[in-house]
Amino acid sequence: MKDTHDTAPERQHDDTLSSKARRRFLKLAGLTGAAVAASRQVAFAAQGDINFFAKDLPDEKLIDMYRTILKIRWHERTQADEMLTNTEYRGYNHFYAGQEAVATGVCAALRNDGPFDQIDLVYSSHRPSGHAIAKGVDIPTMVAEMDFRATGMNGGYAAEMHISDPSVGFIGADGMIGPAPVIASGSAFAMRARGSDQVSVVFAGDGNYAAPHFHSTLNNARLLDLPFIYVCENNLYHQYAHYSYSCPHEDIATAAASYGIPTIVVDGQDVVQVYNAAREAVDRARAGGGPTFIEAKTYRYYNHWGAPGAEAGKLGAFGYDPLAITSFRPEREVRAWMQRDPVEIARNILVDWGVMERQAALDMEEEVKAEIKAAFEWGLSQPLCNPEDGLKHVFAEGTVPPRQFG
């Protein structure tokens, strides 16, 4: 399915940044004039497919995708600001900045509302906030959850790594490397068994390739022809190791193809490519055609995770990887990837296609910022949890006895 060609799409230059914060965020990109090496940072789906489905979409849908990308980006920017400035703030995050087009493009191809037995399901990873927003969770309650508030999306039990909202088909984050894809394939198994046309999707990083569960997932998805989509977000690193430390393939998709599963390698920075790949996969799955493996080549701008009390550039903060132990991320690599920012790519496409005026697109970014700001204001003013509630939700009913008192 994959067809890499060497000519990168012409880069759009747009220096009109929408805000100071945005400018600060992208300052690294601005520091370098180096040309982007297109070969490994950009991958393409089969040429004939590019823009195929997306070009036929109503304007509203395309604008929605752009808005989703902005929401993810500004959720993180705003959260990062909280971490850097608000000493009361307690939330942490595995940042998704740089990868927004992947979650957005995939979820745009899914059925995200309706009764639970009709919507498509998404399983996320330890890096869930982008997936969650793209699937349609309520951002204010997610913000509250990430700061451990009683009225948060999951009552303060989940925090970032276990957020979940089945009402929009976001089964949730799991914080683990390994199990999620197998479990997601089990949902697909049940969908097929009950004759539903739903689809089950898992987002998993390049790190998941090495887990033994990878084999089980793909093997059973193929054997049973499950309505299952494996979205491999290959951002080149798992924590502090390059994926070549754990995977002998240049494209992880090669591993999936060997099971006889259709694979698509896409440029994860381009929401339209991602959408087209996902749409093909969803159509196949709904029609009973079985699983698809999508590998999105992408990159995270920040360090593996960020936590409150952070100072930019220090461990636990964001910026370059500080714990560059085994194989670190070269500065040039980070900068080169930042040149192909998913926000800009999406905006330029919309402008090029005449879907939106540039100014309207920039105005929308301001709207989204304001919306997110309000979400943080609401979320961070919510009540803290009640200690005793820790004894609830162990089983569907009742509470368990406290045991810490002897």
Binding site: F116, D117, L121, G152, M153, N154, G155, G156, Y157, A158, H162, I163, S164, D165, P166, I171, G172, D174, M176, P179, V182, I183, A184, S185, G186, S187, A188, F189, A190, M191, R192, A193, R194, Q198, S200, P212, H213, S216, T217, N219, N220, L223, L224, K392, H393, V394, F395, A396, E397, V400
Partner: protein, 322 residues
């Protein structure tokens, strides 16, 4: 009502629930969901419900266990039968994912799933994974999972109905050696609660607590002791998690003597928890455990049968306490 085998009783419950709920699925690997019983129709889940709902997979118990979890999360009731050789292969996903998921999501995750986990332990001559009986302890330490273990065909059926109807994930331990048991079992569905011990015999001199494959020998021992005039209260735990503390404490408050019997290894066998719970609540009682030594099961029948607690061991330990 008819005399039914263990396996038939269990599959009768599964068949009933699968007929009630067209979304319910069953995943198996070695043990086909087939049972026959004199005077009753053959049950074959694979032919009755088809291969979309009843699947024979490859040898990948972690996939089996994870798949039913995923099925449950997507809204379908689901169960799987894990053969004893693979009894702990799905341990991590049950312990680390399923057990925590409802709580971790603030109550949002629904998991109407049952893992039937076969245990051996009744098989001299096989050694190692083919002969051990230790899973009770591992699975009962997990919060968020209801872990039960029947010891009679009647309970096996009733616990299976209750497990399949429960919104909580259930580890249903299945002592393979009890498969030969038969008894009168109703045709209709009925539930045995997932959190109640059963007092099998009443008495005021000594409480003996056991479960699963330990029960037949314990009951025989109790009968011998009763014939000698001792009042033995035999408790079958049935629910390992949540354990029915009240029944245990009430009994030992009366008898002041507690003997536990396990085929699990001594260290942290279910009896350790039984004793600890009682000892926290009853003063001045005496305690003893009979269990498999802290050694893997050897193949040699001479060694193995000597090490596995039997009727004589129970009788002797009880006599020493009376």
């Amino acid at each position: 009502m008819a005399q039914k085998s263990w396996m038939y009783s269990v599959l009768e419950a599964v068949q009933y629930e699968m007929r009630e709920d067209p979304a319910m699925t069953w995943i198996f690997e070695l043990t086909p969901p087939v049972a026959s019983n004199p005077g009753k129709p053959v049950i074959n889940l694979e032919t009755e419900f088809g291969r979309k709902r009843c699947v024979n997979t490859g040898i990948d118990e972690n996939w089996m266990a994870s798949a039913v979890l995923g099925a449950g999360l997507s809204g379908s009731k689901a169960a799987t039968y894990i053969p004893y050789q693979g009894a702990c292969i799905p341990f991590e996903v049950i312990q680390n994912v399923a057990g925590k998921l409802r709580h971790m999501t603030g109550g949002k995750a629904e998991m109407p799933v049952v893992w039937v986990i076969e245990m051996t332990g009744q098989t001299p001559g096989f050694a190692g994974q083919h002969s051990c009986y230790e899973e009770d302890s591992y699975y009962m330490h997990i919060p968020g999972i209801r872990t039960v273990i029947p010891s009679t065909p009647y309970d096996a059926k009733g616990l299976m109905h209750a497990a399949l109807r429960s919104p909580d994930p259930v580890v249903y331990l299945y002592p393979a050696g009890l498969r030969t048991l038969t008894e009168e079992v109703p045709d209709e569905p009925y539930e045995v609660p997932l959190d109640k011990a059963a007092v099998r015999t009443e008495g005021s001199d000594l409480t003996i607590v056991s479960s699963g494959a330990g029960m037949p020998d314990v009951l025989e021992a109790a009968k011998m002791l009763a014939d000698e005039g001792a009042g033995i209260e035999v408790i079958d735990l049935r629910a390992l998690k949540e354990m029915d503390t009240e029944t245990l404490v009430t009994s030992v408050a009366k008898t002041k003597r507690l003997l536990t019997v396990d085929q699990s290894y001594y260290t942290l066998c279910p009896g350790a928890e039984v004793i600890a719970r009682v000892a926290e609540n009853v003063d001045g009682a005496r305690y003893k455990r009979v269990a498999f030594p802290d050694a893997p099961p050897p193949a040699s029948p001479e060694m193995f049968t000597w090490m596995r607690p039997d009727v004589a061991n129970v009788v002797e330990a009880a006599r020493a306490m009376l």
